[in-house]
Amino acid sequence: MTVLNWKEGDLAYDSSVFVKGKGHFVDDLNLPGTLFMSVLRSPYARARILSIKGGLNGSELKAKMASVGEGADPSQSVSIQPVFATGYVNYVGEPVAAVFGDDRYKATDLLETVEVDYEPMKPVVTMDDALKFPPIHSGMKSNILVQSSRGSDFKDPDSPIVLEDTLENERVATNPIEPRGIVASYSDGMLNVWVSTQSVHSIKDGLVESLDLRPDAIRVMQTDTGGAFGSKGGLYPEYVMASYASMKYGRPVKWIETRREHLSSTNPGRGVRGKVKIFAERDGRITGLKGDVLVDAGAYGTGIASFSAGFIAMMMTGPYSIENGYVIGRSVLTNKVPQGPYRGAGRPEASFFIERMVDLLADELKMDPVDVRLANMSDKAFTSPLGMKIEPAKPFFESAVRELEYRREVKLTNGVGLSFFVLVPAVYPGESARIIVKDGMVKVWLGGNSHGQGHENFARKLVNEELGVPENIVTLFRGDTGMTLDGVGSWGSRSAIAAGAAIVAACRKIKKKVEEENGNYSPELLLSGSYDEFVYEEQKMSLNSFGANLATVEIGKLGNVKIKKCAAYYDVGRALNRDMVIGQIQGGMAQGIGQTLHEGLYYNEDGQLITSSISDAGVPLAEDLPNFTVKIAEHRSSLPHGAKGLGESPTIGVPTALIRAIEKASGKRLRKTPVTPEELIQ
């Protein structure tokens, strides 16, 4: 076993090391004397705990989880998850106790030494059951975690066309290639934490709150992070346990998630249903939309569910100029692992609902779906009745139809789908950056952390542009609360926008200092001095961007879908690095295909997870994927560096285009992802 000496150089972030097999992931960190942690989890979806004997459990560590990170809602109180279940367990996979061994085999063996007596109870498994049955937590009036509405209610107009449908996205595991993991090491009054994460600041804030620590007595450092897709932005019970145990035992404590644990116990995304009603004229114009959105929150309000219901409701009219809109969003508690963000985090769901309805309207009117969309968009900016600001949509859409060669494709085959969406990136409240210039080198830290996107590329480029220094002397470091006072995180298509803007602001502050000291600025003057600037650059304006996808498919007689073409045309703002942009879009398109055809988390009536292996949970394989066509439009944003968001665009646009293509090829109305061969077999 190698003991890595984590010097500063090892903390430099450079994604080119990954293809060489030289990343420093959390499981590569082997501190002397490390204890390995294994977690005993509930085998029941719902049960009363009569007794627990052995291990570290809730009788000793009474801490509760903290709601931090993307879509956090600190206002939840009754439905906050305890770090260890006491009294009751509420989902299969919920932590009940932890054991610690000198190696991972011993730690796993020790799980057998913990004795738990359960009295199983009838679980609330589906969203329908959640609405029907008494609350799973005492102290609540119902299983409704939150209820909110967007827009104002309106009287059903006397429209010639009224269409209503119920549409659903099954839960999806985030399944990054590297599962979650943490090393916590406490010594001399300081808790050092290394973690695979999207945000060191969220993890720090969460641990401070959950364990009641002094903020200056904890430092959270990011290790190389092998993907996250939303699941590594917030706090998890295991992080609190490992930190506590490290303080208790005075030894480093390591926990590495297994894939099975990931599937049962890491917050999955989606799991959303929408009942949608549209009112339309015969020319295709939609005059009103009503919606009722249900989010499967899982067992606790510590995930993203209390945020996502209202967020989805806000985006339900999509990029279209629909005058009347009223959407109710509710998140309901069920005996399943809490819902979390998954690439898109509400955006794909909202887009699925509106795009499926627009296609239904096209079929009803026997119109081309493109013409129906054109009938509902404007040359002017539009503020939707649900509160979303949209730039003029029509010019972009018209060019998308051309760029994606839609008119040609529909002549060639019946199985064609086209989607259109507006991406709402999570730019608020901004992001931080710190730049240190010393010894002729430029070092950069960001508040949000790259987990595979390659932030170092835009960091180098922006520093080069702002300060005129060569890119090869600029180094981005991994996230580290010891180096940045404050920060947000990488999610919601925000980093190039918000972190990029923070880098630009920090560079300009430094440049000004150089000018003040020297009377003028040159890169040589900069590099001969020493500078250290931290900025937290606020972002408040809306920076939406448009995107469109096209898919064509053939369906075999056994119902298997063969994707012939999968194309994207997105406005990415100014592309700071074209290769990274295209790579990110291709990866997201694979995930969009995964959600549409392969991926889902299924539970039986007892709340047991059926899809407990990665092959059952259904990640797409190379064999399932077509060649991607990626085209980008670069309409600069109003930010100094011109960036817009893009990370989530493909998981928004691909499912809607693909399901439409399948619908056309099969002749069957499709309402749910994933679409299975069983539905499509002739």
């Binding site: 991972r104 085999y105 796993t108 063996d109 099975r260 007689k557 056994l558 298997n560 055809l597 392969h598 299924y602 059926i610 899809t611 092959s615 059952d616 259904g618 797409p620 394989l621 190379a622 064999e623 399932d624 299975t676 061969p677 069983e678 077999i681």
Partner: protein, 290 residues
């Protein structure tokens, strides 16, 4: 992987392996390629105090025609079957089945002996060997015995292997020129086990009537099934659309799928019906060409 602790043996000779198996009895488990056993150990769904890795035993890795039989050593990997020139030329059905198992990583390690002796109703090789009227050579303390492949798997994960016995050789009859077969497998996703799969092997006479039919089914019953009624129905007939379709209905009636995550029983029957028609037609065409 973090399994429970076990003692590991890697004998180089068959006799040694049999001695160890006899000594440890039910506490021992044979491992060949490890592609079924290791996932079970890793997830701690099974634990065995003794694991006997037979992969180093010499002389169990071969593919050769000997007289009336094609003989395949039990340790031959699925990749070796997929890549064999002899099999590509003369036993296409075997290649088709091998090439559709899981993914290349699994096929590089997984062996034909392991694929059969695990007794998994979703493993592909048993149905093919059954359709070919294959025989299995079993080696034990008392020497060797040969059993019909069709009777080898008695129930889910249960075989005729007695304590101290190892499946050592797979024997497939050498059919004459006017024979052909194919293996069709329906999967939900790439790399999956099948929803349903079928092996059909037909020999035809000079009048182009089916002289002999062999049909094996995967994933549609508690064990790999032989569709004997379907076989008898086809024998003596020329294949056309209505014969194939009627045979498929008979084959489906012999299946016994259960509803599970991969699909409802009705769906599996629907799939089986379609792939049965296709497999019968394709096998007949291949038998005619030769």
């Amino acid at each position: 992987m973090h399994p429970s602790s076990f003692e590991y043996f890697a004998p180089k000779r068959m006799e040694e392996a049999i001695d160890l198996l006899t000594k440890f009895g039910e506490e021992a488990k044979i491992m060949a390629g490890g592609q079924s056993l290791i996932p079970l150990l890793k997830l701690r769904m099974a634990s065995f105090p003794y694991v006997i890795d037979i992969s180093r035993i010499q002389g169990l890795d071969y593919i050769e025609e000997k007289g009336k039989f094609l003989e395949i050593g039990a340790l031959t990997t699925l990749s070796e079957i997929e890549d064999s020139e002899l099999i590509k030329e003369r036993y296409r059905i075997l290649r088709e089945a091998a090439a559709q198992i899981a993914d290349p990583l699994v096929r590089n390690r997984g062996t034909i002996g392991g694929n059969i002796s695990h007794g998994d109703p979703s493993n592909d090789m048993p149905a093919v060997i059954m359709a070919l009227d294959g025989k299995l050579e079993i080696t034990g303390k008392q020497g060797k015995r040969v059993v019909e492949a069709s009777s080898f798997i008695t129930d889910s994960f249960t075989t005729l292997l007695q304590e101290g016995e190892i499946l050592s050789k797979i024997m497939v009859p050498v059919f004459d020129g006017s024979s052909g077969g194919c293996y069709i497998k329906q999967k939900k996703n790439a790399g999956d086990f099948s929803v349903a799969a079928i092996a059909v092997h037909l020999s035809i006479d000079k009048e182009e009537k089916v002289r002999r039919a062999g049909i094996g089914l995967t994933s549609v019953g508690p064990r790999p099934l032989r569709a004997e009624k379907g076989e008898r129905f086809l024998e003596g007939k020329r294949i056309n659309d209505s014969v194939a379709s009627e045979a498929a209905n008979i084959i489906v009636s012999e299946s016994d799928p259960t509803s599970d995550f991969y699909g409802s029983a009705d769906y599996k029957k629907k799939v089986l019906n379609k792939i049965a028609v296709e497999a019968i037609n394709t096998s007949y065409e291949r038998a005619m060409v030769r």
